[in-house]
Symmetry: C3
Subunit: 394 residues, 3 copies
């Protein structure tokens, strides 16, 4: 077995930096695939690095400058992602996380897949941390944490001609003196004409003291997957609306509205069934049932699924987020109280794996529905009509 | 009539980016005019784009990186602008609007003409906005809003050989999910050996829900226009000092001091007379009356004029601002209560047009004085000696 | 005597900018020395300028982008600096000083020598400043001030073949309208195979009104200088622990622990003896006494010495700071009350000079010990066992 081929694009320790690169399928040794990298210029995107991958059917772009998030994708002409009110990708230098009462993260939010974390994610809120003197101080955690606005210090293209895979590898540190020290190592992999993309992430604690982790994958979809009467497919064990606004829509929690001017977001929290290997899935199916996007992940890694319905007008951001995570995106204090904030011991790491799969035929969608049904066999979903204290502050 | 010639310098959607450009008068097809663009390096200005325009007599520089503001100008050797304590232009990446209790905007403030807005301008203050859940939250609006620290995603040079004009066109978005979505489109135009510069701005609401607008043109002048015994010329209908400090100087509101160490700013709010087409003007005339700078604008677009006197020592910023706007630069809450915050319906826009004109002879200045007198004919100005509740919080 | 040779790398006023430069010893006219400059790419360091100087034995790197701080050094293979949890140098565009309750400065903190100031340094805290209206407003000063996150607008290499010295000169402004206006001019000098590095700094008040100054040199050391049983050498007249935590360690204030997981910082404040020219010194000596690093400075310029012990685990930042300054790094309000905030009159400046010297033999270390002993002759150090109101809020 030959060693994978490697192109290091960024390695700050070794002063490696590739301004632009194009690697074709012959050079990769993997048919149908190409990888390119360039730095965007102008506007909010000035200075943002973009790594573009295609496998023939599926293409996607990775943002080293924004914590190795995935900006946009497309599969056989179908758009993966959404039309955000801000036209990004936005350079973190122009994002002030503290703005608008801790909602500044929104100024940079237009990705298809964006990680929320690592020390915290979820709603802005006060938390108690230790300062340099070891004394507890109250700080204001900002929406969805820092990781999406931190640049990668290491970026590499790997191609494995034997395994016929192409991967983008990145490392991003969220670390400072007297602060948590967490390193994200991500490997984003696809294969020739595959309808799949896999993120294998490992977050390690760089410090000699234990660290907390909150990690959530904010996977966002507009059309063609999202439309009036699109449906959420998932092997639900238990579900609850986040708040009274979401409670209003609980009867139709798994069905989506068409673009609706003035719509206020509705968020639902889920506990899903899993197989013996703890694998589970959640999918967004279009109205007619001939396309869907599927998220596969491991419930032992990410026990929580959040569904964000934001079926506002197209111009205001018509989007739904399917968000597997270590926790629900409530204030960190609440999640900690509920035991949903994992702890990473010094030198240890926490792994999360997420596969995104696109179905483009009725048969594929039916197979997903069958898979969901099988996982759910014998389970009577408990659907709370109102917010439930297990899931959210009520 | 031939189509105007066009050079697109930045268009992020089309991945267009011109690192540097020089377009001479022959290429423009407009005599005496040239346009050039480069990116500044080093210090606070590192990465700031500068577009320089000359028409033979008048030259000025536009800052795409700072919301299409106008950094500096000069007319027949006279400096247009002021000597700010910060030596800019300052890259927005180094400006933290939240600093110093919401006064961080000052860290980047050294322009000749800078727009304040778009969602808000004026003094920092609490306001109530809707969060993602549709619930009102209290946020701290920062001094003079965001637009001056947002980069243009589109920049174009246009030259019209038939009309003999040269324009710089730019688009800047102030938009994000759950935030206002406003787009500024500006066209900044001059003509061969003209003493005029015109800004034609259009702010459109990108969202499907109504939006508010606060837009003010902070036009700043030091010498040679500002000096001891310089005068404000304007067809005043009503005027009031902003606060008791300004009240101290109400007897001489229209006259300026020489550089005065320790001077504390005095601000006056004006309601001006207008012609039948709603056009009005305000001017700053030097002491001897042989030079002046004139602002012409439409009162139906910008009903409010603010005069900012800051005749401090030269080193501390000897400057006056003449500031036509949709509102006075009070806290937004106050202006909203007074009905001075326009609302833009979805898909609609709000236009503002401002012409700056330089007078360099006694005759030209006298003509302006006559024009002001004519507009004011029959009007007895109401000059409030103290702050008045119509204009400011008293 | 020939004029020194000069290479201007940055001068924003004259549009001078050197992307990269290498000046060898022949060109410098100074044996053994070289100077080079480049801009770092990727990760947190993207866009940071680095000026590297070697003199044959001693090398160090200056950071124009970070206020002319000194990133790292090395002397005959010994590392000068420390291993910070954040891998810098960090571009200020990614540092939000307001983060984490005013502790955001830590996100960029990994330098060997970093200036804290200029308007304020020390712990975050409320202070009263005058706003544009001349009214006192309460602002939150952030940890260690702004200067380390401001870029130089002027950078020059100077070589003096006659004096056999090489200097890096830089100017950094901390200035804005209605804010203090302070200019740092630094000259960082070394000589062929010297074990010394000298910073000659001058802070001038650019404004026409008086200004305050807080300036402290945060000089940070890990191994090989810092290890278990390393010692602080200084001619102590009086010393006090900053707080009760430091009080716990007062018996061994001058001795260091090996890396100790979970260690909470201990800070001690010192008043040192001086010679007739007001010169004093402080040193960090390794356990066996064959290496040391020495700080020499003038007590009339910097009356206060702070020792920061942070002997945490290697991964958490095993480091000590020796910090001569105009003040102790308490909240500015406290220091002002104690009369330790110098005032700079308009047009005047305040000078600080600091020499760093590396001892690499038992003889050199012994000489330093003798020098300390001589300065301390006849002085019985007053070591307060508990925090003392003269030094810190108790």
């Amino acid at each position: 077995m030959a060693k994978p081929k490697s192109w290091v694009l960024t390695d700050v320790e070794k002063n490696i930096w590739a301004e632009t690169i194009f690697v074709g399928h012959e050079e990769l040794g993997v048919p149908d695939c190409t990888v390119s990298k360039r730095t965007l210029r102008g506007g909010l995107r000035d200075g943002v690095d973009l790594v573009e991958v295609t496998n023939g059917d599926l293409s996607f772009s990775v943002l080293p400058t924004r914590g190795m998030g995935i900006w946009k994708g497309s599969y056989r002409g179908m758009s993966l992602g959404w039309n955000a009110p801000v036209k990004g990708p936005v350079n973190p230098k122009l994002v002030n996380l503290l703005d608008r009462g801790g909602l500044g993260w929104l100024q940079g939010f237009d990705e298809w897949i964006v990680r929320c974390g690592l020390d915290s994610n979820g709603a802005p809120g006060e938390d108690s941390v230790l300062d340099n003197n070891g004394n507890p101080i109250t700080v204001n955690l900002t929406l969805h944490g820092k990781i999406a606005n931190l640049p990668a210090h290491y970026v590499e293209i790997q191609a494995d001609p034997d395994a016929r895979t192409v991967s983008i590898i990145g490392q991003v540190d969220e670390s400072a003196l007297f602060c948590p020290g967490l390193r994200l190592k991500t490997t984003i992999t696809t294969a020739p004409v595959s309808n799949r993309l896999t993120l294998v992430d490992e977050v390690s604690n760089l410090k000699a003291i234990p660290s907390e982790l909150e990690l959530l994958y904010h996977c966002n979809f507009g059309g063609p997957f999202l439309e009036g009467n699109s449906k959420l497919l998932a092997p639900i064990v238990e579900a609850a609306p986040r708040d009274s606004r979401a409670g209003e829509g609980i009867k139709a929690f798994d069905t989506y509205l068409p673009p609706t001017a003035g719509y206020i977001e509705q968020v639902y929290f889920y506990d899903l069934a899993e197989d013996r290997a703890h694998q589970t899935l959640a999918a967004l199916r279009n109205a007619s049932g001939d396309t869907a996007v599927v998220l596969r992940y491991n419930k032992s890694q990410m026990p929580c699924l959040t569904q964000w319905k934001n079926t506002a007008a197209l111009k205001d951001g018509y989007v739904t987020g399917l968000e597997p995570g270590t926790n629900y995106p409530n204030k960190k204090r609440f999640e900690r109280d509920k035991g949903r904030v994992p702890r990473i011991e010094p030198g240890k790491s926490y792994g999360c794996e997420l596969t995104i799969e696109i179905c483009s035929s009725r048969e594929q969608v039916a197979a997903i529905e069958a898979e969901v049904a099988k996982l759910q066999a014998g389970v009577k979903p408990a659907i709370h009509q109102r917010p439930h204290p297990k899931f959210s502050q009520t």
